[in-house]
Symmetry: C2
Subunit: 535 residues, 2 copies
C-alpha cells in the first residue's frame, strides 16, 4: 500500500464498525454481545477488517495464538499473509505433549514423551475461563470441541509441610473451618461492640443471620461439631441408608489452628476472576487449538524459520530468517506491514529497525520462570482411593500444585497428573536440574501428599520454560511502573511494525491476551492500510 | 429358606466381611476405600452376599434405584429374584423426559414432551456428588458414562425481586462483595478491639493477613474499587490486549446494600457437602442409570404391576397385584423374603401385615412437594448473550432456580433449561395449575431474569411430584423427632419384610440414600437367610 495515496474509499460505517474503530475490537465484541448481536458476531468475526486495500500484504512473525489469530483474520479480510515460525509445529506455548512426542530444550536435553494413547500434558496454558470469549470464539469457529475444566474441587487438598503434621487437608474442611472461624469472630464482635455507621441496627441483624448461614454457626453463633458443620467440612462417617447409615460428625479445627496453619494462602485463589467457574479445556489437549489454526492456515505458515533481523522503511518491512534445514542460510520475506508476535525475551536479541520508544519497551519486560511436570501413573489412584476428580491440590512443597485431569474421570487404566506447576524461585531450582531429576523430584515431593506415588509411577516429562528455545521464559512480567512507562510504546505501531502477544496485553500469560492484542493490532494496521499508509 | 434349619454353613470370614457384617455395607465400602482396597471393591461389589442359601428367593417391590440395586446384587449372589413395578419403565424417580415421551399425572392431564433430539430434562435427581460413591459405583459397573455436572457457576445470577431494582446480579459480584464486607468489618474489629483468648496477638496478625486475601482488602484493610476487587467481582470492562485493552474497574456494593439485599440466603448453598464440587451427571440424562439397570435385569422386572396387598407368615411373603393390562385382575407373587421399596406415601395406603412399630413408622413420614419445569428455547441465549455455561441462578421468584445445562455448551441450535425447581408453598401453588399454566408461569417469571425468554421460548414440560401416580410426592421429610421415634423401626426387618429407599436413609431425596439403604437391608436379609430364617 506504500504506492497508494489519496483519500480512502468510502465504506459502510455501521454502529459496530464505529464502535470497533473508536474503541478497539474487544470493546466492539463486548458491545455486540451486549446488544444481542451474537449471531452477527458469528458471521463477521470479532474484528471488522472490511474494505482491505487490494494486494496489501502483512508479514507475521510467530505462529502462536496471536500470530495465527492475526493471520486468520487478515487472510479472511483479503490481505496477502505470510507467517514465519521457529518451531516445526503451530501453536507456540499452546501445546500438548502426547505419547511419541519429542522435545529438546536449551542445553540439548531431549525428552521423549512415553504417555499412553489419549493421555497428554499441556506444558503451557491449560484452561479457558468462560469470560475469555475471544479464544472461545475461535474454538467454536475452528471446530475445536471443548469440555468443562474442573478448577475448584473441594475434595482436593490444601497442604502445608509445616502444619497439621504435614498431613494434607481436604479443601472443604479447611474452607469451612476458615469461614466458620471468621463468622464466629465477627458475630461475637457485632454482638459485643455493635456496628459502626453507616450500618444500622437492622443491618446488624441481617449481618448476624447472614453469618449464621455463611459460617454454619449454631443458634448461639458458634461454629462447633454438629450435623450442620459436618455438612460443610465433611463427616467422619458419611450419612447412608438403613440401620448402618447414621452419620458421625467431624471435629472442626480451632480458630487458632486455622489461622496459624498458613493454609489460607491458597483457597482464596479460587475466587479470582480467571479461576472462577466455569472454565473449559479443548477435548484432547489445549494444543488442539493451535493445531486447528495450523491446519486452517496451511502453507501460509513457513515452519522452522528463525528470524534473525527485522528491517523497515517507508515502503514496507523485510524480515531475514534462517531455514533450520539449511544452517547458515539467510532468506528474506517482505510485506507492506509486519505484525511481530515473537516473545520479548527472544525479540530483544534480534536486530530490529524501530524507534527508541518501542526498543526500550521491548527491553523492559522480564519473563517469568515456570515449570510444568506431567506424570503418568499406572492407575488413577487419586480417583479410586481418594475420590478426587479434577481440581487442584495446593502445597507449600516446591511442586506448588498437583492438577488432576478433568477428563476421563472413572476411566480404568493409566492416568496423567500435572505433578508440578511451579513459579518463582522453586522454578529456577527445578530448571537447573536435568529433566529426569525434575521428574524424580516431583515424584518424591508428591509422595508426601499421595503415598501411592512411588508404587504407581510410570513415566514423566518436565518442561522448564526458561529452557524453551522458542520463548526462554513463560510470559512477560509487567510491573506497574514498567506498564506506565512502556506499555503504550510497546503496542503503538512503529512505522510499519506492530507487536502482539500476551506480552502486549493486560492479560499476561493468558491466550485471551494474545488473541485480543492481535485483534487490536491488526485493526490498527488495517486502519492505516485503508488510509493509504499515511494515517 | 423357610424349610431350612440348623446352623449356617461355615464360610470364609475375611476382614472385609466382618466389617460388613458388624457395621453394614456402607461402612464396609468406606473401610475398603480407606484401606486402599478399591481394586477388591471392584471385584466384589459394595456388599458381600456370599454363601446365599440354595434356592432362597426375594420378592422386590418397586424397580426404582433401591429395588434394582437390591435385585442386581441378590441375583448376582444366587438368590431367586422377582421385581414388581408399577410403571411401564424402570427407574422410578430416576427418570429423564425426552422428545416423544408421554407422561400422565394424577387427574389425567397428559403431557407430550416435544424437545428436540438429544435434549432432555430430569424431573427427579439431576446430579451425582463425587462422594456418592455407591451410585457412582453402579454407573461404572453398568457402563453408564458420566460427565461433569456444573453446580457452581460464578457467572450465573443471584436475584431478588426486592433488591437492586429486581435486576439480577452475577454470583461473583455478590459473593465478592459479601466476603469483602465481612473481611473489612472483622479486620476493623480486630484492629480496634483486639482478639479474645485463646487467640494470641500473633494469631491476630495472621488473621489480618488472611482477611486481606480472603476479602481482597487493600493495605488499609478496606474493600474498595480497585483492580484487586474487580478481579473478584468482575470488571466494568474486562482487561484485554493492545491499546484498547485497559480494564475499567467496577464499583463494589456498600456493606449495607450487601446485607439488606437478602441475597446471602442462597450463595452459601454452594458450600454444603452435597453441592460441593465435583459433581457428575450421566451422559444423556439421569434416566440412563435406571435404563441400564432395567436392561441388566430384563425379565426379572414385571412392569405395570400395581401392588394392592402384602401378606407374610413364618414361611414367606405374598404380594397381591393388579396387572395394568387387565384391570380388576388380582395376581400374586411369593418368596421367602420381601424387600419393599414403594414410597411411604403410597405404601401407607396398601394393606400390609407388619407389626405396629413398622406400620407407625410408615405412616409417620410426610412427603415433600416439588416441581421441575423443563423449557426448550430456540437458541442457547444464556450462553450466547450472557456467557452462562451450566450452573444455577437462584431467585426469590416462585420458580426458585434456573438450571443451565452442563452438557452441550457452545452447541448451536436449541437448548433446554431447568426453568423452575421449586419446593415448599410455591410448589403447591404450581401443582394446582394445569401443566400448560405451570410452563407459562415459568416463562413469565423467568423473563424477569432473562428478557430473551418470551421471544425464544419453544415448548415445555412440568412435573409436579405430588401429582405423580407412582410417588404422590417427591421424597420423605424426616423431622428430628420422627427420626428419633420411627427411623429404626422403619428399617428393622419385620418378620420377612424389610423396607428400602431414600426414605429409609439419612440422605433423603438422594439416590445414594436409596442405594445404601438397599445394600444395608439386603445384607441384613442375607444374614437371616444364611442363619436359616431364624436369626
Amino acid at each position: 500500500m506504500s504506492d497508494r495515496n489519496g483519500a480512502p474509499p468510502m465504506t459502510r460505517r455501521d454502529l459496530l464498525r464505529m464502535i470497533g474503530v473508536s474503541a478497539g475490537s474487544a470493546a466492539m465484541y463486548q458491545a455486540m454481545t451486549a446488544l444481542g448481536f451474537a449471531a452477527e458476531s458469528k458471521r463477521n468475526g470479532p474484528v471488522d477488517l472490511s474494505d482491505a486495500p487490494r494486494g496489501a500484504s502483512v508479514l507475521i512473525l510467530g505462529a502462536g495464538i496471536a500470530g495465527m489469530t492475526a493471520a486468520y483474520e487478515l487472510r479472511n479480510a483479503g490481505y496477502r499473509v505470510q507467517v514465519l515460525e521457529y518451531n516445526a509445529r503451530p501453536g507456540g506455548r499452546n501445546w500438548s505433549l502426547r505419547g511419541g512426542d519429542t522435545y529438546t530444550e536449551l542445553g540439548g536435553a531431549t525428552q521423549q514423551c512415553r504417555f499412553d494413547k489419549g493421555l497428554y500434558i499441556n506444558p503451557g496454558p491449560w484452561r479457558l475461563p468462560h469470560h475469555h470469549q475471544h479464544i472461545l470464539h475461535y474454538c467454536r469457529e475452528l471446530g475445536v470441541k471443548v469440555e468443562p475444566f474442573i478448577e475448584l474441587n473441594q475434595n482436593a487438598y490444601v497442604h502445608s509441610s509445616r502444619a497439621f503434621g504435614g498431613k494434607p487437608m481436604r479443601y472443604r474442611a479447611y474452607q469451612s473451618d476458615f469461614n466458620g472461624a471468621v463468622a464466629e469472630l465477627l458475630a461475637k464482635s457485632v454482638r459485643e461492640h455493635g456496628l459502626d455507621a453507616p450500618l444500622t441496627k437492622e443491618d446488624g441483624e441481617k449481618l448476624l443471620a447472614a453469618l449464621q448461614l455463611f459460617g454454619a454457626l449454631d443458634n448461639d453463633y458458634r461454629y462447633v461439631e454438629s450435623d450442620g458443620t459436618s455438612d460443610r467440612r465433611g463427616y467422619l462417617r458419611d450419612p447412608g441408608g438403613g440401620l448402618s447409615g447414621r452419620p458421625q460428625f467431624s471435629k472442626p479445627l480451632s480458630p487458632g489452628d486455622v489461622f496459624r496453619s498458613g493454609l489460607w494462602e491458597t483457597p482464596w485463589l479460587h475466587s479470582v476472576y480467571e479461576f472462577q467457574e466455569t472454565l473449559f479445556q479443548p477435548v484432547g489437549g489445549m494444543g488442539r487449538i493451535g493445531e486447528a489454526f495450523g491446519r486452517e492456515l496451511g502453507t501460509i505458515i513457513r515452519y522452522r524459520s528463525r528470524v534473525t533481523k527485522i528491517d523497515q522503511d517507508e515502503h514496507g518491512v523485510t524480515a531475514y530468517y534462517e531455514d533450520a534445514g539449511k544452517p547458515g542460510s539467510t532468506m528474506k520475506a517482505q510485506a507492506d506491514w509486519c505484525l511481530c508476535t515473537i516473545p520479548l525475551s527472544i525479540l530483544s536479541q534480534i536486530p530490529m529497525s524501530v524507534g527508541k520508544p518501542m526498543a526500550d519497551a521491548i527491553a523492559a519486560v522480564p519473563y517469568a520462570s515456570a515449570i510444568k511436570i506431567g506424570l503418568q501413573f499406572k492407575r488413577r489412584f487419586w480417583e479410586e482411593d481418594e475420590q478426587i476428580y479434577g481440581g487442584i491440590t495446593m502445597t507449600d512443597l516446591p511442586i506448588q500444585q498437583i492438577g488432576y485431569p478433568s477428563h476421563g474421570c472413572f476411566d480404568r487404566g493409566k492416568g496423567v497428573l500435572l505433578g508440578a506447576y511451579v513459579w518463582g524461585q522453586s522454578a529456577f531450582e527445578l530448571t537447573a536440574m536435568s529433566p529426569e531429576d525434575r521428574v524424580r523430584a516431583a515424584v518424591r515431593y508428591g509422595a508426601q501428599i499421595h503415598p501411592q506415588y512411588e508404587a504407581e509411577f510410570d513415566n514423566g516429562v518436565a518442561v522448564a520454560w526458561h529452557r524453551s528455545p522458542f520463548t526462554m521464559g513463560c510470559f512477560g512480567i509487567w510491573s506497574d511502573a514498567a506498564r506506565e512507562q512502556h506499555y503504550d510504546n510497546l503496542c503503538a505501531i512503529d512505522g510499519r511494525v506492530a507487536l502482539a502477544g500476551e506480552h502486549a496485553s493486560f492479560l499476561p500469560a493468558w491466550q485471551e491476551g494474545a488473541v485480543t492484542s492481535a485483534l487490536d493490532a491488526i485493526s490498527r494496521i488495517h486502519r492505516r492500510a485503508v488510509a493509504g499508509g499515511h494515517a
